[in-house]
Amino acid sequence: MTLSPTPGLAQAILTVGVVLVLAFPLGTYIARIMDGGRSPFERLLGPFERMLLAACGVPRPSDAAGGGQTWRGYASSVLLFSAAGLLVTYAIQRVQWILPNNPAGLGAVTPDSALNTAISFVTNTNWQGYAGETTMSYATQMLALCTQNFVSAAVGIGVMAALARGIRNARSVDLGSFWRDLIRSTVHVLLPLSALLAIVLVSQGVVQTLGPYADVTLVEPITAADGTVTTTQTLPLGPAASQIAIKQLGTNGGGYFNVNSAHPFENPTPLSNLLETASILLLPAALCCSFGVWVRDRRQGFAILAAMSVLLILALAGMWISESHGVPALAALGVDVPTAMEGKETRFGVPASVLWGAFTTAASNGSVNAMHDSFTPIAGGIAMLLMQLGEVVFGGVGSGLYGMILFVLVTVFVSGLMVGRTPEYLRKKIGPFEMKMAAIALLAPSAMVLIGTAVASSLEATAAAAPNPGPHGFSEILYAFSSASNNNGSAFGGISANTPFWNMALGTCMFVGRFWVIVPVLAIAGSLGRKGTVAPSIGTLPTHTPLFVGLLIAVVLIVGVLTFVPALALGPVVEQLRLQTGGVS
């Protein structure tokens, strides 16, 4: 049985519509804030901001000219700040048993898991090898994880703003101050937005408390096979709403509870589901509009947003078609409900699960409201591909856009040559240095995915961590490395990933996938900033036309697909082909 597309289509249009309508004003606002403009929260948050700025030794926000850094300075600050964040996040997990606010009395997190989690949250990946409610205390969730949810997203916005300044600059090495970018984006963008979302989520029933876990009496006692009767259940609680707001908005995705947004305390109502889904794409989409403002040509931002949207819609359509056809073998048994319901929350069903699945892997969010492991093979494969494209279809906050701009540079280069001119983008000539940096940044995550998967599938012990035999087991390994290397953080499940090997291997992938991209991106910003501008003419390749958007989409797809088609063929493709011939993989 195939599902009617109407409810899914309605949800998709509603959600995408909410995102696109909000993206424009929000993007304009972010651009103004990052350029030192006035904020409506000046009176409320101004003192807090000035205190932070003073602590970092940066001039006042209004004098936008002061405290600027070169690309090397900016990159050093990013690395320094991230290293410090990594240490603090690691340390808090290790000593949470002596810290207050630990009503469940949870012990220290193991060293490899703590390191993996620290890298994971600092890199905006939020891969979770642990189960939140049984591992992390309230203090750890708030101090370590929630802080990184904010600042890792702020780092992304900062690096993106620096890149935009490099493009906009002419003969200047000043990319702005990292510290000011960090503080302004956190205080004036991320804090108010997540406070707003958290309040709405609480109104929907998302828990927000510092009280201990609750013991409740079951309405219907459960009798186990050995005859023991269970009459009570412990309900894990905690300050969830505040964290969920930023985990959605900041493309973090690290759930408060293990089952993430499939949990009724994280995502209780249709409205909360709509808001949480839309929040995934909100900031990445808004930043495209900010980019247009920054480079003083709004069409450039819209062009990139259009390319991202088309790619998302293609992916969504592919996943929907695959999911709505479900499992032929089950359909043959006369099942008259959707056959692809295994692993999905019945409250959401196929459409809302597919929508979230596409959004969360397109953006590097990684939160889930259904288990991706149980998606039909092609739908799971598309989710994987969305990550493997380099998390550029919306992608992470800031990181998705600067990743996409790397693809724009490649597109501009090839098509610029085709019109017989030295390639240029936004009045800057693209030379060997930019190409080298773009190549490094684009190659690193792909190489990590392939090498990681090759190593893990070669080692007998780790390959066995994927309990499913055949192509599905391979998909689980490939998904894990695709997610980590591209800083997505969602998991296919299946793998018991909380082991030293997986923690270290995926930790390395997340680290490389984040900083091996940020540094070359800032180097490009520095190099473009030093260059003079060239005057556009009709001999110049326009980069805002539908033709260029189409080309950009083609380049992203061709590079991504050509790199991963062999691997995907051995995983999801084989699995789907088997499913078609009556197997159940």
Binding site: F413, V419, T422, T533, V534, A535, L551, A567, L570
Partner: protein
């Protein structure tokens, strides 16, 4: 250099023979290392050859014949790429050889000092250094590039320019530069040598066509990086397939892993071998096209910069207009007929050998005045002098004079007459329209006959060329010493976008700087010494070969034909060079899609037979991979003509150009291998001995 010395056809038998030999020589790994893409193919070929030898002794990972066939075609891929490069080089070499023939070892008369009377020593031209003085007599070859210090002579420069008419070379001024290898026809020249051996134009030109200077341009380096990163990523994608397939076999406990030969074949098909193999051929052919246009560039960089040019500064005289003003119209005075004025003007100009004078005769003829000679008219010529500032004739008692208004005005006044107001008005009108008025008067009766309007004549077809440039986004600026009025009128007629009137070298330099500050690349031509600062400042500076040494040194290109409109052609050549690279890169990458569909099902047939569903082309699994490798190799040869000729640059905007090239090379590149691989596969399967090379 005459065009007959260069091969007319793209490839002839002799060229092909020597290219084949070169292509084999280039198989050495040292030659291959320069090109990361082709080096990867070379390593792959070597690896499969080793695997074939291993298979021969009984440890084959696959069928021996199949490994041999794959190895052979991989070597063919390298060979074809070498052949493309060798063909391009060969065409250049043929030209260099013809250039070299012009350089015989001549004996030079070296002088002890810059004087004709100084001590003469006879030395070989090869021993002359910069700053030496030599004396060249009639009939002798000029031994090296330099500047005329003394003397005036006619020189035959046909060996360099192909132009058979001799040119005048003299000391001082803008005609003082001489080129080695040209011959003095009359008189003598005292030349100061300007270049050490090995640095002369001829040497530079030979070096250029032979590709001796192999420094890559920034665009090439950037493209190399892009191609290298594609190669690296496909290397990862293919290399990791081995552990992936081993894992699959282990998990399934059935099937066979993919063979190394298979992975090498897949890798070579995926990496951009088409563009990688043709890259150096494209560069050499681009330089070759420039040399064929009789232009020497100091570097490949200058050629590419020509493709980026936004503004062309063109001298009015000689580029936009013919060198001289010409009579365009007669304005008779009141009471005088046009025929009468034309008749008088013709008589006054009969002996005037200046182009202006000749043009008056021509115009008069159009008014029905028959041709006459001084002898027919029994006239005496009154030449132009600095005192009278008039010229004319005396026929019996008729004295006819023509000259500038002031000169004729005083002439008429002296005779007791005055110029009528209508004529004054005509003179003003002509001057305001940017033309030059000449007034004709007759002594008898102190009579003013009327005005001849002399104006610049814009070259035919130039307006259309400027329109083409505009369509390509290039702005043309006319540079002239004329007053703004004259300049504006000619600019409008020629269809240039802008003009610089009353130009001085300083104003020209300032204009270039201003354009560059606005982020525009400027190209210009120049020949005089006073052009040198502007030439040095411009991004693309073409010096005329007839120009001074200073101009040539300041520019980054020299046009041997001294044709200022050549700039337009140079821009086209620069663009075509870049476009060819871009188009073939797109084609190369677009090809990969089909190759996956061809290779993956066959490669994993033993591991996952289900993947046979991806075999959309319906290829025979045992020959699919070989077919893909063969297609990949022969597409290089098939595209050699495009690499050598270049992708045509049409005068349209960037958006249209991109759309068309995407359609041809992008979409074409997607479709071509589906058709090509299928055709090769069908063909292979009807060959009699095919069973020996099946997988």
């Amino acid at each position: 250099m005459s065009s007959t010395a260069t091969p007319r056809r793209l490839v002839d038998a002799e060229l092909l023979r020597s290219a084949l030999v070169d292509a084999i020589r280039k198989l050495s790994p040292r030659e291959q290392l320069r090109n990361p893409v082709m080096f990867t193919v070379w390593v792959g070929s070597s690896l499969t050859t080793v695997l074939w030898v291993v298979a021969l002794v009984g440890y084959g990972e696959a069928a021996t014949g199949w490994i041999a066939a794959i190895a052979a075609w991989l070597w063919a891929t390298v060979f074809f790429a070498n052949l493309a490069e060798a063909l391009a080089e060969g065409r250049g070499k043929a030209q260099a050889a013809s250039l070299r023939r012009t350089r015989r070892d001549v004996q030079a008369r070296r002088l002890g000092g810059p004087s004709r009377d100084a001590v003469q020593t006879s030395v070989s031209a090869a021993d002359l250094r910069r700053g030496d003085h030599v004396l060249v007599n009639a009939g002798e070859m000029i031994p090296g590039d330099g500047e005329v210090v003394e003397g005036i002579a006619s020189v035959d420069e046909s060996a360099i320019t192909g132009e058979s008419a001799p040119v005048i070379r003299e000391s001082g001024g803008d005609r003082s530069s001489v080129t080695g290898g040209t011959r003095v026809l009359s008189d003598w020249l005292l030349v100061r040598i300007g270049a050490n051996p090995g640095e002369s134009f001829l040497d530079r030109m030979i070096g250029l066509v032979e590709g001796a200077k192999r420094q890559k341009t920034p665009n090439e380096i950037a493209l190399d990086i892009l191609l290298a990163s594609f190669t690296i990523i496909f290397l990862f994608a293919c290399a990791t397939l081995l552990p992936f397939s081993l894992h699959a076999v282990r998990q399934n406990a059935s099937g066979e892993p993919v063979s190394v030969t298979m992975l090498v074949a897949l890798l070579v098909c995926l990496i951009p071998t088409t563009i990688g193999g043709l890259l150096s051929a494209i560069r050499i052919a681009g330089m070759d096209r420039l040399v064929r246009a009789n232009v020497i560039a100091t570097s490949g960089r200058a050629v590419e910069a020509a493709g980026d040019v936004d503004v062309l500064l063109l001298d009015k005289t000689g580029t936009i207009t013919f060198g001289n003003r010409q009579a365009a119209r007669f304005h008779p005075a009141p009471g005088v007929t046009v025929e009468e004025l034309a008749d008088a003007a013709q008589l006054a100009s009969l002996a005037d050998e200046t182009p202006e004078g000749r043009s008056v005769v021509v115009l008069a003829k159009r008014h029905g005045v028959r041709e006459r000679t001084l002898a027919d008219a029994h006239a005496t010529f009154v030449p132009f002098t600095a005192q009278t500032r008039m010229s004319g004739v005396t026929i019996g008692d008729r004295d006819i004079r023509k000259g500038a208004f002031d000169a004729i005005n005083s002439y008429v006044r002296l005779l007791g007459g005055s110029i009528p107001a209508e004529v004054r008005r005509d003179v003003d009108m002509v001057a305001r329209a940017g033309a030059t008025p000449l007034v004709v008067a007759e002594a008898r009766g102190a009579r003013t006959l009327g005005t001849i309007e002399l104006r610049d004549i814009v070259k035919g077809g130039i307006k259309e060329r400027f329109a083409e440039l505009r369509a390509m986004g290039i702005r043309t600026v006319m540079v002239t010493g004329d007053n703004p009025l004259t300049a504006a009128s000619i600019a409008a007629e020629a269809g240039v976008d802008d003009f610089l009137a009353e130009a001085t070298p300083e104003r020209k330099l300032e204009l270039i700087r201003e354009e560059q500050r606005g982020g525009r690349l400027v190209a210009m031509t120049g020949d005089g010494t006073n052009d040198a600062p502007a030439l040095a400042q411009a991004d693309v500076a073409v010096a005329m070969n007839s120009g001074t040494q200073a101009a040539k040194e300041a520019g980054n290109m020299v046009d041997l034909d001294s044709d200022p409109t050549k700039l337009i052609e140079i821009v086209r050549i620069g663009k075509e060079l870049l476009m060819t690279r871009g188009a073939l890169t797109t084609f190369s990458i677009a090809n990969d899609v089909a190759k996956y569909f061809a290779i993956l099902p066959a490669a994993f047939l033993a591991t996952y037979p289900e993947l046979g569903a991806l075999n959309v082309m319906g290829l025979e699994p045992s020959t699919a991979i070989l077919s893909s490798v063969i297609f990949n190799a022969i597409v290089i040869i098939a595209l050699v003509p495009i690499a050598l000729r270049g992708v045509r640059c049409r005068p349209v905007g960037a958006a249209t150009l991109l759309r068309d090239n995407i359609l041809i090379y992008g979409v074409g590149g997607l479709i071509a291998p589906f058709v090509g691989v299928k055709a090769i596969d069908l063909l292979l399967n009807v060959l009699p001995l095919i069973d020996h090379v099946r997988a």
